[in-house]
């Protein structure tokens, strides 16, 4: 859960998604500013932390980068339990990974924290030629399910910081702060996402 101490917030964030969707790559881009072509498949889950400043508050993300490998699915609750936020990642060039993402959303809705801020990331947006999942389709799905949606690229860094900043802003404790930061988000999420996250 997000917990605050005078505008210093610790927020547990979990990344879920299919093998190879780019969860680790997104985290490494966000935390270390790096990208590697041959990112090894994650074992269990890796832990990172990164602090962002949003509207005069600091949010310290405690990030769980989980493994997409099938054998770890049943253990996912161990990582998303108590999370304030989740990024569900799919690969825009892989339809199966989008289907898998929907399953994660369902699971989180059924088991997770109802106040959890959920983001849907259509990753590898640099691979336009290989696109299999239309962004309209994902956008519609996200709206219907109270998620906010961005297409990201860990490779080019497009929308990577943005998705984390957007989550930070939506964390319940920050809802009071009236002024959104000056950042312009292309895929501004629907109302419903706000209602889902402001009941604290």
């Amino acid at each position: 859960m997000a917990s605050s101490g005078n505008k210093n917030i610790n927020a547990k964030l979990v990344l879920l998604g299919d093998v190879g969707a780019g969860k680790s790559s997104l985290v490494l881009r966000f935390v270390k500013g790096q990208f590697v072509e041959f990112q090894e498949s994650t074992i269990g889950a890796a832990f990172f932390s990164q602090t962002v400043a949003v509207n005069d508050a600091t949010v310290k993300f405690e990030i769980w980068d989980t493994a997409g490998q099938e054998r770890y699915h049943s253990l996912a609750p161990m990582y998303y339990r108590g999370a304030a936020a989740a990024i569900i990642v799919y690969d825009i060039s892989n339809q199966a990974s989008f289907d898998r993402a929907k399953k994660w959303v369902q699971e989180l809705q059924a088991q997770g924290n109802p106040n959890m801020v959920m983001a849907l990331a259509g990753n590898k947006s640099d691979l336009l030629d290989a696109r299999k999942v239309e962004s309209e389709e994902a956008q519609t799905y996200a709206q219907e399910n109270g998620l906010f949606f961005l297409e990201t690229s860990a490779k080019t860094a497009a929308n990577v910081n943005e998705i984390f900043y957007e989550i930070a802003k939506r964390l319940p404790r920050l809802q009071q702060t009236p002024n959104p930061s000056g950042m312009v988000l292309v895929d501004r999420p629907a109302e419903r996402a706000n209602t889902a996250s402001c009941c604290s």
Binding site: E40, I43, G44, A45, F47, F48, A67, R71
Partner: protein, 547 residues
């Protein structure tokens, strides 16, 4: 042998192809009556067995024995090969120099076409080479696949491929089904197939419930060694999945397990590679990084501290060697579990990125349940593993790690570890030379820092003399049964080339298995001679009975 990094792989002998183009095995003589065939001594071209059995009727392998093996040269040595460059056992160095001239030249000429295939597979980054599956393009129809010297397969009792060392599992469905047919044919006759010999090839089978493991090899390793390797391979799978994976087969006999092992090719290939360089794989013992006593105690006491607080096992490791190891109360850690755990961690690049918390099963501790492993690398070689039964202990373990790290830094343990790595273990030339240097050398293993000047001197001696240590001693391994540990000297001149090192390794392996062979042994004292390449070695395995 301990100096070889697990990343030197290209020189694997079994990685090389056989000379003759010949299918691995003619599996045709099936009559339901296979029985174990213990390796016949005569057919070994490497070590001529000339046993001088001082006590061949020795009591059934005594528990109170301590064994050491030594390898001496006999005087007629004249050939000195190029010594290893000092950096050749370095982690990064090995990765970059896997094609080191030595091995290529050593290998059979007619492999050259296949070699190219290997290099093609390697192109790309160096780390890719170790991690990825090799020769994935091959299948049982490929000539190169058939010529591989050592295959490992895991398959399900319904014949579905689970793992293959070479080639794509899915393309090997037909081959898998054949192996399954052999096993079940014999089983239907109320028997069990352990070993099939076909020319130079041995086909070793191991049945573990619904999971079958098969090794096809023409490396002339003893049956017992190959079987032990299959056991370890199975253990590695249990470490990743637990034995409860067997239940999947109860529900659905045709269950496809490959998806459950996704991303673990590197784990298996590095384990298989270790069968050809890491004595721990047949000694069932672990080895410690040489460190000063005070240094190790500093590490042990902080690990002991955290072990009191809900940590089941705490291990501080440097590569595959133990720096310190602490267990809570009555729990004990089997050396094979240490081997499999460290192999898993070192071969999974994922652990190096940050701290991780992952389910892991220790097959010898409890094959049915996961433990949770907190893993953190302090530097490129040194890592901490904290194992717990509690799935929500992460933050606690993270705090433990922070405490441990600060103690290790304050007491210079990490820098001592790096120093020990650079020093490179125990050198035979340091032993028994003269009273003064002897004291220094012996204590360097026991822990006192090696005097700085001795290192260059030692190397020079080795190069010039070319005859190893005093009294013609070239190499030794000592295994303590009480401690489950072994100590071995580093390779030094004249055992310089990787090929020679591997031959020595194989000889130890063979010796060990013959000493523990209930069929013809145990032979407590043996004398073996190796006259390959115009050289004679004498092998003195020494079994010391204490009491």
């Amino acid at each position: 042998m301990s100096s070889r990094s697990p990343t030197t792989t290209l020189d694997d002998e079994e990685e090389a192809l056989e000379e003759e183009a010949e299918s691995p095995v003619q599996l045709n003589a099936i009559n339901g009556s296979f029985s174990e065939e213990i390796v016949a001594e005569g057919d070994d071209d490497f070590v001529e067995d000339q046993h001088f059995e001082s006590n061949s009727k020795a009591e059934s392998s005594g528990v109170n024995e301590e064994i050491s093996y030594t390898w001496r040269n006999v005087p007629e040595i004249d050939e000195v090969e190029r010594p290893l460059s000092p950096g050749s056992s370095g982690y990064a160095g090995e990765m970059g120099s896997t094609s080191g001239g030595d091995e290529i030249n050593d290998d059979d000429e007619d492999n050259s076409d296949i070699r190219e295939v290997e290099f093609d597979g390697v192109s790309g980054s160096q780390s890719q080479w170790v991690s990825g599956k090799r020769h994935a393009d091959e299948d049982d129809a490929s000539v190169s696949w058939r010529k591989r010297k050592k295959h490992f397969f895991i398959l399900s009792h319904s014949g579905k491929p689970i793992y293959s060392r070479y080639g794509d599992e899915h393309k090997l469905a037909g081959f898998s089904a054949t192996l399954q047919a052999i096993i079940s044919f014999v089983e239907n006759g109320g028997d069990r197939v352990n070993l099939v010999r076909a020319g130079k090839h041995q086909v070793v089978f191991l049945v573990k419930g619904p999971i079958y493991l098969v090794c096809i090899s023409c490396t002339e390793e003893p049956y017992e060694s190959l079987k032990g390797q299959l056991e370890l391979l199975h253990g590695q799978m249990i470490l990743i999945l637990t034995k409860s994976v067997n239940r999947c087969f109860e529900k659905n006999p045709k269950f496809d397990m490959t998806s459950l092992l996704g991303g673990t090719d590197a784990v298996f290939s590095s384990l298989i590679h270790s069968f050809s360089w890491n004595p721990a794989t047949f000694l069932h013992a672990y080895s410690c990084l040489p460190l000063a006593c005070a240094t190790r105690q500093a590490a042990a006491s902080i690990l002991q501290d955290v072990a009191g607080s809900g940590v089941l096992f705490a291990l501080l490791m440097c590569k595959h060697k133990v720096i310190s190891l602490v267990s809570a109360q009555k729990a004990s850690l089997h050396p094979d579990d240490i081997l499999l755990l460290s192999n898993f961690i070192m071969s999974s690049e994922s652990f190096r990125t940050s701290e991780s918390f992952s389910p892991i099963c220790l097959p010898r501790y409890n094959p049915m349940a996961f433990l949770y492993a907190y893993v953190h690398y302090f530097d490129i070689d040194t890592y901490l593993i904290l194992l717990t039964t509690s799935s929500d202990a992460f933050y606690h373990l993270k705090d433990c790690r922070i405490r441990i790290e600060s103690v290790l830094l304050n007491s210079n343990v990490l820098s001592e570890v790096q120093r020990s790595l650079v020093d490179g273990g125990m050198h035979i030339e340091d032993l028994l030379v003269e009273p003064t240097s002897r004291a220094g050398a012996v204590s360097s293993h026991l822990g006192q820092p090696r005097p700085g000047v001795s290192a260059p001197g030692r190397m020079a001696d080795g190069f010039v003399g070319g005859i190893g240590g005093p009294a013609g001693l070239w190499h030794f391994i000592y295994r303590s049964i009480y401690l489950d540990q072994y100590v071995s000297s580093e390779f030094s001149s004249p055992i310089n080339s990787l090929r020679q090192q591997k031959r020595l390794y194989r000889a130890y392996q063979k010796l060990y298995s013959s000493m523990h062979d209930k069929g013809i042994g145990p032979h407590k004292t043996q004398f073996r001679r190796d006259e390959n390449y115009g050289r004679s070695f004498l092998f003195y395995p020494v079994a010391l009975r204490m009491n």
